[in-house]
Symmetry: C2
Subunit: 251 residues, 2 copies
């Protein structure tokens, strides 16, 4: 584990449009920022940038809300078409109360509104969805940037999720390539000889959170480079971060 | 918001004993590491270091388990004395199933085992508790280090918590001084003119997670300096991170 990690925000990444080459947009930002990629770097990319380039956008004017969506929207003062998109993105409703919909996406992530988001999308009538396969998105970016810069890197696609019991949202990893997202200390011993029996750290989520510190929500900085952290080896998948149903006490 | 944040692990922090001066231990580590503190730095300190210096340790040989603790321990293969300490630290049991106790501490934090922890404590018969008032602990460190180095800093006391739905633990803030732990974008507009209605970021938790990347669990690096991040102004309290019961769908 490294003694210093740098979190570098990448400026000048162009606005993404459906069909855009994501690695090309990121490389453009890196070059305009006077940056390159080094061996072992981790590139964190917001879900929003990825989803826009992949066309994972829904025009609300084309959405016909169900009775459930209309009722819920009327009761809580929401846009019925947006509620409809949330319900369509969900594969399971975890809670639906107090105007909040906590839902499980088809990827297995549990979050508010099944990760459907209206912010930072051009046009007030559009919302963004998660990428269809965020691991595959991360892997495509990883491969293209690795080739372009001639170095091994990891890529994390980030989104900001709320949590039970704690206020505020934090960035987490929804797509991972080129690293294992979990660092498993089980079976190792601390300096006092105590066996760490339950210590598995979600380092991909911690890296996503670290990246958020330079990304911001108002600046156009949808990419960050995390430098100096030795990632757990592995091909990696954000699905490794999803709790197995049988171990989950909060389904 | 900054374009680069550095996360610097502090080496050579001595092992803490009850009664030790925490700011002195941290300053010793900084000096031995060739580091100083700069205006605006955030010093992240593990709960374990703080709890040891504050004597928040329990000798299990002096604990008499209740019938509940004995039954639970027998059923799930746990140490009944440790279960007893968990039950005493809890002000509310959120879930008690599958050998797991998810409990609310007197500070309002919901986490496994009410944050009672056996790792990285000298002597196999000792466990550590959270500090009595982690905000006050953070404030004492902040004041002493600010005076010593003549700069304004913030301090975060960190612990690693599990989360529902996601595997692995991540570092979060359990004590905060010298900064607001939440960054509130509500009422501001993104670059597309969309009003950010629900965007409140738990930056203290993100900083705690970032700090974990250099702390590790096996190295003696219980302190990290986060440099280059402009903190939300405020006196700060980790209690601001605790979800109000009436908004919590997972009590």
């Amino acid at each position: 584990m490294s003694a210093e990690v740098r979190i570098i925000g990448v400026e000048h990444v162009p606005e993404a449009r459906p069909g855009d080459d994501l690695a090309g947009l990121i490389a453009h930002g890196l070059e305009q920022s006077g940056l390159t990629l080094l061996e072992g770097d981790i590139v964190a990319v917001t879900q929003k940038l990825v989803s826009k380039a992949e066309g994972q956008l829904v025009d609300l004017r084309e959405v016909e809300p169900s009775a459930l969506a209309r009722n819920w929207a009327a009761r809580w003062g929401k846009d019925a078409r947006q509620v409809e998109v949330v319900l369509r993105e969900a594969q399971r409703i975890v809670r639906m109360a107090n105007g909040l919909i906590i839902a499980e996406t088809r990827h297995g992530f549990v979050c508010a509104n099944a990760a459907v988001d209206a912010s930072n999308v051009a046009g007030s009538e559009q919302v963004s969805l998660l990428p269809v396969d965020p691991d595959a998105s991360a892997e495509r970016i990883r491969r293209a940037l690795s080739e372009r810069y001639g170095v091994r890197i990891a890529v994390i696609v980030t989104d900001s999720f709320g949590r039970p019991w704690r206020k505020g949202i934090v960035n987490v990893a929804v797509g991972v390539a080129g690293m294992a997202p979990l660092l498993d200390y089980r079976g190792q011993y601390d300096e006092h000889g105590y066996e760490l029996r339950a210590t598995v750290i979600a380092v991909a989520d911690e890296i996503a959170s670290a990246a958020e510190l330079v990304m911001g929500k108002l600046e156009r900085r949808p990419v960050a480079v995390v430098r100096g952290y030795r990632v757990p080896p592995g091909a990696g998948s954000a699905r490794d971060l999803v709790m197995e149903p049988e171990r989950d006490l909060f389904r």
